[in-house]
């Protein structure tokens, strides 16, 4: 079962549900030394989720490049971001929240962030510090649920942009107020596959085609498409 090769100028996004993540964790695929070190530092629940999303990541990287699974070896790159340094140049970004995970794959640098929207979270203070006055004013007009949805949406855009260029959260102080300008300079897309899930993906420029698919259990055929832009004329498909 293959998750498919990745064409140049293509962006592939995979959403992993908690139960799918658990099934991939149970595969017990061999991870790289750096990943094992990272996993060991986690508590058991987090370690299982880590193992699940990294097992899927290895499968997708191998399929996208038509290389054997054992060829995929990840190391900590700039800012601790795991990279396939000896690979053929494929880039990825991985994010997780509350048992869900989102993986982005492209031949150019990519940043992705996923958050489960929490109404009761103490995020308002973070947003107050990092969002622009205009964004804060928008949030104030909203009820609790809509405010949480918008706040996390904006937050994932910030994180996706920071992960795109490897700045990580250390870059937050510079970026927060300039989000509008950063959004204009890059291709940033917010993706909310289901109520309660906020995600964003950032690339330097628009991909030719992209899709967000639901990751399938190991051994099952490729999951359903959630969103896509296949670059064709949809009206002609009938």
């Amino acid at each position: 079962v293959s998750t498919g090769r990745l064409a140049p100028d293509e962006l592939a996004l995979w959403l992993l549900k908690p139960e799918v993540l658990a099934a991939w964790a149970a595969m017990d695929l061999p991870l790289s030394g750096e990943e094992k070190r990272q996993a060991e530092a986690l508590d058991p629940v987090a370690r299982e989720r880590f193992a699940g999303r990294h097992a899927f990541l290895h499968r997708v990287l191998a399929d996208a490049t038509s290389l054997p699974l054992r060829a995929v070896r990840l190391r900590a790159g700039a800012g601790g971001k795991p990279q396939w340094t000896e690979g053929p140049g494929l880039q990825f970004s991985l994010s997780s929240s509350q048992g869900w995970a989102l993986l982005a794959l492209a031949w150019t640098p990519v940043g992705v962030d996923l958050e489960q929207v929490r109404v009761d979270a103490d995020w308002a203070r973070v947003w107050e510090r990092h969002f622009s006055p205009a964004e804060r004013q928008c949030l104030q007009a909203l009820g609790p649920q809509a405010r949480a949805t918008r706040g996390f949406r904006t937050w994932t855009q910030v994180e996706a942009l920071l992960k795109l260029d490897g700045r990580g959260l250390r870059g937050l102080e510079q970026l927060g107020p300039d989000l509008e300008a950063e959004r204009a300079r890059h291709w940033v897309l917010s993706l909310e596959p289901a109520p309660g899930l906020a995600a964003s993906v950032a690339l330097a420029r628009a991909p030719r085609t992209w899709s967000l698919r639901e990751a399938a259990q190991p051994g099952q055929s490729s999951g359903r498409e959630i969103f896509g832009d296949q670059g064709s004329a949809p009206l002609l498909r009938g």
Binding site: V188, G228, P234
Partner: protein
Amino acid sequence: MDEPLEAAYLLSQVGAEEEAQRLRAQARGLLDQELALLLPGLPRNARVVDLGCGIGLLADALSQARTDLQVLGVDADALAVQEARRVFGHRSHLSFRAGSLQAGPAEGEELADAVILRLVLMHQADASAALQACRAWLRPGGQLHVLEGDDRAILAEPAGAWLERILALMQTVQLRRGGSRRLGLDLAGLLAQAGWRPAGLSRLDFDLERLGPVFEGVFFPVADFHLKQAVRDSLCEEEEAAFLLDQLRQGCRGGFSRAKVPLFHAWTRSEGP
């Protein structure tokens, strides 16, 4: 003076009273969740234009949920606008007028901070042209929100080839009428083709458990309308249409163990400050 304008979908065409009743049932079941898609994105004190507002259910719900908004509903169907005014005409921050998307705002009319196109593209012969026409309604930097379903993403279990057949016939009828029931999955591509830069996409899957009897009341009449048209267009025999509708009715009344009907939402902003 309000004049009836071009539209592929008119209340009078589909049976005004029954259709208004169906739309109200749909709103009761679904509108809360649709609002949750739209509300987070709308700027404070925004002037919002609901293009293709029909009998005004979404426009009213928006203005009720967010009293800071100024909402205008516009529809090419004079009968629908008349009904919207009759029911919601007394509300403050909410108004309705007849007009077409393609004609743009009326002379002297203020430009919108946000335009909403909900289940409108599916009735347009040229979806790309309709998306381009939205620019004229928006101030620079204004937002466009598009909501569409997509029959390709409907999930129903257990269902055999009969459901595929129904959906295929419905799409053929819709294409002939000038429109498509298969746009939601490709909204980002459609926006890009029309020169917009998509900013975000969200997806809701209404499920049978939550919809309950609304599912039959909302989806069945639409299928019924399309299949009768399919018979008139000689796309299928009357006996087949009756068999398909019977299967669907049984499915709606408990035959489906699982069913999901998706709604896609894409938003973007016009260039400018």
